[in-house]
């Protein structure tokens, strides 16, 4: 079954970031016929994220969250705006992913803030981040200032963005989107590059 993972970096409870994340999740479920939606609440793995920065390996809950993201067919990522950008917690999660984890993965970017003056955060902060990660960001990003939660237009943007994500999920492969797939440590462990090839690469004559 198609799987979509929603990554939410809200800190309070209840959180407007989580509220937006849930509405995006519901709209995505509606747009895709059969979909398994998992929500990763970064607050729950905040300690493990800090530990990962310090030790280099994830604790059990964080490892499960990373696995879910790695195997997802599509992502919905939602961050509150802190100091004119995504929050540190949000960025930390994407910092600890191994290179290649999001190659070619469709991503719907979304953010919440107290005021509409932060709305360009989607285009100035989130899009470049996910472009670097070689993900495929859908055209419509969803920004919600506090006042937007009373606006019917927000629901229209949510539906449009979810529709765009649904149209891409399962259709983009890493090879189409990002050229030859990068080999992860797990790929090498499963099927190592033969040593003769490593020798050729070392001498600069191949690869």
């Amino acid at each position: 079954m198609t799987s979509v993972v929603v990554v939410s970096a809200g800190l309070s409870n209840p959180s407007s970031t989580r509220l937006l994340a849930d509405r995006l999740a519901a709209a995505t479920s509606q747009a895709l016929e059969e979909v398994d939606v998992t929500v990763v609440e970064l607050r729950d793995v905040a300690h493990e994220l800090t530990d990962h920065l310090l030790t280099g390996f994830p604790g059990p809950r964080l490892a499960a969250a990373i696995d879910a993201v790695r195997s997802a067919d599509g992502l919905v990522v939602v961050t509150p705006v802190f100091s004119a950008s995504y929050s540190g917690l949000f960025k930390t999660f994407f910092d600890v992913l191994e290179p290649g984890t999001l190659d070619g993965t469709p991503v719907l970017v979304a953010a919440t803030a107290g005021t509409a003056r932060h709305s360009l955060v989607l285009d100035h902060a989130l899009r470049p981040l996910f472009a670097y990660l070689r993900a495929v960001v859908v055209p419509t990003g969803v920004f919600a200032a506090t006042e937007d939660f009373a606006s019917p237009e927000l629901e229209q943007r949510i539906a449009r963005a979810a529709g765009e994500l649904a149209a891409l999920v399962g259709k983009v492969s890493p090879a189409d989107a990002a050229g030859p797939a990068r080999r992860s440590v797990d790929d090498e462990l499963a099927a190592p590059t033969p040593f003769e090839e490593l020798l050729r690469r070392a001498s600069g004559s191949a690869g």
Binding site: L54, T55, G56, G59, F195, L198, A202, S203
Partner: protein, 380 residues
């Protein structure tokens, strides 16, 4: 089964006193620790190699030779030798020389380094780390096995008609281990040559260790060196013990909480569960250590980190006394259920025997430019 210790040579403040040892104290302490290791019956002492504060482990060959002169039995090794940034020609010379000086009591472990800037300091590019490890070792391997080498590569000036001196003792190069935590290419390299593979093990979850050792064993067999369970595997380990388990927890906690690498991160409870670190009684250390076989199989070398995080020398020596006390039980435990075809770690003696006996490998100079005589002629 070889059991020993390895040291990274960190100069770290003792968090319980606020005192930081001087470099001189730490260098002398390293020698005292190595001598103590031999005294309590351990088989191996290995030193790291770093070229920056807060470490005193630059110039490991001087340290090993100095320790070698004051010990009789213990095998001297490295953890690790920087094959990326050190000229393989110098590694060939240095470790062949220590082989001669210590009558073969030396082997070494290749590694890539702990800090990015070490590469540019030595004129290298960290993005070429794996390639440097592969090409440099390929040259080192030849320098110890071929009397005359013609060589050209990507990272070092070419060699023509070059003879590395001294030739390895008895014509047998030192045994080499390759150490890596998370680079499958290095396990592949170790397997290709039929060399040993060492996983640091400490600071990491067992799953990392298991995956890498498993890859090495599979590929060791693939390259025709023998069945996977005869591959030569080494592991790190880390403990702090007192006769009473709770005393060990209380005494070690401030060192743990402030330690380089993992300090200020996970709790000691979480870390002892997630990694091989064992804090407790000698019996608990013994049992935990013997359980490493559950995920790597029967292996050949177990090295413990005992002198880090600012632990004072006196405490480190006490730890070694306690390790010495459980050593007979540990050896007995490792021997239990070990199939007869699983080899021990190679030593100089076993490698000489495998080569059909000792050979003088001296390469005599072709002709003396002053007298026109060849060395053999003079000796004859």
């Amino acid at each position: 089964m070889q059991i020993g210790i390895f040291s990274v040579g960190d100069v770290t403040t003792d968090p319980t006193t606020g005192r930081t040892p001087t470099e001189h104290e730490r260098i002398k302490a390293t020698v005292a620790i190595a001598k103590k290791a031999e005294e309590v019956g351990l088989d191996v002492f290995a030193t790291g190699e770093h070229h920056n504060p807060p470490f005193i482990s630059s110039n490991p060959t001087a340290t090993l030779a100095y320790i070698g002169a004051q010990t009789e039995r213990i095998v001297l090794s490295t953890a690790t030798t920087l094959i990326t940034t050190t000229d393989p020609v110098l590694i060939a010379e240095d470790y062949a020389k220590i082989q001669h000086l210590t009558d073969g009591r030396v082997d070494l472990m290749m590694g890539r380094g702990n800090t990015g800037p070490v590469y540019p300091w030595f004129g290298k590019d960290i993005r070429q780390g794996i390639n440097l490890a592969i090409e440099n070792y390929a040259l080192l391997h030849r320098l110890w096995r071929e009397d005359v080498v013609d060589w050209s590569g990507r990272f070092r000036t070419p060699l023509q008609d070059y003879t590395s001196t001294p030739r390895p003792l008895d014509g047998v190069p030192p045994f080499v281990w390759h150490g890596s935590i998370r680079s499958p290419e290095i396990a592949e390299q170790a397997a290709y040559y039929g060399d040993g593979f060492f996983h640091n093990h400490i600071f990491w979850p067992a799953s990392h260790t298991q995956q890498m050792v498993d890859l090495y064993r599979r590929r060791f067999e693939h390259y025709g060196h023998g069945p996977a369970d005869t591959a030569i595997v080494g592991l790190g380990g880390q403990f702090f013990m007192r006769r009473n388990s709770q005393d060990a927890w209380n005494e070690f906690r401030p060192y743990f909480d402030n330690a380089p690498v993992y300090g200020h991160g996970p709790s000691m409870e979480d870390f002892t569960e997630a990694t091989p670190l064992t804090v407790g009684s000698p019996q608990q250390v013994l049992e935990r250590t013997l359980s490493f076989r559950d995920y790597v199989g029967h292996y050949q070398r177990q090295l413990f980190l005992v002198d880090h995080a600012g632990l004072p020398l006196k405490t480190v020596l006490e730890q070694l006394d306690l390790l010495g006390e459980i050593l007979p039980e540990m050896r007995k435990g490792f021997a239990e259920g070990r199939p007869a075809h699983v080899p021990d770690a190679p030593t100089h003696g076993s490698l000489v025997a495998a080569a059909g006996g000792a050979k003088d490998a001296t390469v005599y100079a072709a002709a003396d430019s002053a007298t026109g005589h060849r060395a053999e002629d003079v000796l004859a």
